[in-house]
Amino acid sequence: MNIITIEHIAKIYQVGSEQVFALRDVSLTIDKNEYVAIMGPSGSGKSTLMNMLGCLDTPTSGLYKFKDQNVGLMDDNDLAAIRNREIGFVFQTFNLLPRSDALHNVELPLIYAGVSSKERKERAASALDSVGLADRMHHKPNELSGGQRQRVAIARALVTNPSIILADEPTGNLDSKTGEDIMSLFNQIHEHGNTIILVTHEEYIAEHAARIIRLKDGLIEKDEFVENRYIPNNKSVIQ
């Protein structure tokens, strides 16, 4: 089943009198339980595309259908609801609320989903547990390592059981060992049936995915399945 269908998407920024074509003409479909990496040089439009797919941003032109709903017709509230229920974001810079502990950070999407306090706490705790942070629930972000922060962010992305996880350079701020841990976590999430799209600069990170889309100057240069997909054997983290 197609989760995402985009057809001839363009995103044009007006900077002064100049037009910047972040995306020129992009079409693609993404199925349930796919694991896609988006690659490309800096400025090629990867983040722009991710924001579009994540309903944070709207295209200048083109069609975007998320689970057969036309996103172009939605208002701010509908978009917020889709982001809340269907999409889990993981960012390069983690983007946790600095003054709240891990548990509250993970709870937050559930608050906006209208889940009662008790159920929220349980679900947030079990999400933190599943990323191996059961003993760090009441730590603030600045009391956690980079890898642990990213795990909190992943727990926050997972806690609403979204249809799709979007990760924009999730290992960009981590050393390669910690990055590898995060990637095996993504692998397990994928094996649990989740759909994942991640942006990366690193070829070896991209090879964890089953499909790589290469962007250049706002266009898809290449869209292919990975033949020798790298599957981490470390299964210690997710149960």
């Binding site: 944070l56 701010d76 982001r83 974001f89 983007n95 709240s100 509250h104 937050l108 906006y112 209208g114």
Partner: protein
Amino acid sequence: MRHFLFELKEGLMISLRAIRANKIRSVLTTLGIIIGVASVVLMSTAIKGINQAFQSGVSSLGSDNLYIDKWSWFNNDTPWWELRNRENITIEHYAKFKELAQLPLAVAPSIFTNQSIKQGDKTVQFILVVGTNQDYIKTTNLTFASGRFFSELENNSSRNVIVLGSEIAKQLFPTGGGLNETIKIKGIKFKVVGILEEQGSWVMGNFNPDNQAFIPIDNIFKYFMSEAWGSVTINVRAPNSLMVNEVKEEAEGIMRRIRSLKFDEKNDFSINQQEGLLNEINKTIGVIQMAGLVITGLALFVGAIGIMNIMFVSVKERTKEIGIRKAIGARNRTILGQFISESAIICLIGGAIGLGLAIVGSMIIAQFDFPTTISADAVVLAIVISLLTGIFSGFAPAYTASKMDPVDSLRYE
């Protein structure tokens, strides 16, 4: 409805978290509103106190009373020199008036002089010594702590007897008693035949019966002033307040006859009345109220601007937080509510502190015999005002926050 309550509760929780996370800024923010609310509450309480004091003071005069006088209490249209040039009202005028007047319940003359009263080594200064006769008591509602008013006999034979107001008695006889004691005015001995209960209110100053003493009227002329100097006031009490106007009309006619005024001549006397005094006081209080409103309104406005300013800074500083919240599903309205309730809570806390300060302040002021008690409506006023200020000053910043573009705000550093 359930959903609304859920959102409200969660919004409040989020706001409380944010306030706790930014303690110092929140405290600074509240300062403006603390001062604003404290001044509003104190001001409204003070005005109420003043008002009550005046009302009760004035009504102690009695609403059924008329005072026929050379002078007008309110000099509205008659020029001052015209009043001064009026012929004095004399004790003979009074006697004739009393003879002719049919309607009044009681009529009594009065004239006063400022004196010091001595008893042993104690002196009370600037006392209004009122010269009158035995009928004076019937024109008032005075009540006695001990003794009585002087009698017709004592009056007619100009005995040296005196009735003391409660405050004077308290000062001359701090340990109580005083009845049948002798006091001195200008070296002349008077026997105390009565002491009044506490009557009036501090706003009346010397006109408060508590600070007055009463002696037979002839003694005033005998000891303290020449009859030619003073003008007597004729105190007239109507049988009830419905008859005040009739009594007044009759009094005017009689006075014109006594003064032999022709039909086209103006009155050369004034008939004063508590009602006029009340109107005047209400006017004054209205002015005080307006001034108070403007001043405290300004204080609140400055406070509100301060809060708005800090909320704008706060929104700007937390742009990234807003981006994060939106990315994980906060709606514009939720963000709007979050910041408005943050500002409202800050203001409510500030309002509560301001109210506390006002209560302490009014307790301090009450030490100086100024009647202030913070009433329930002042509390409600404080709460409503701080809530409204919070919502008012939080709205623009909150609206800005709610309209922020999620992508832009996530990229904000």
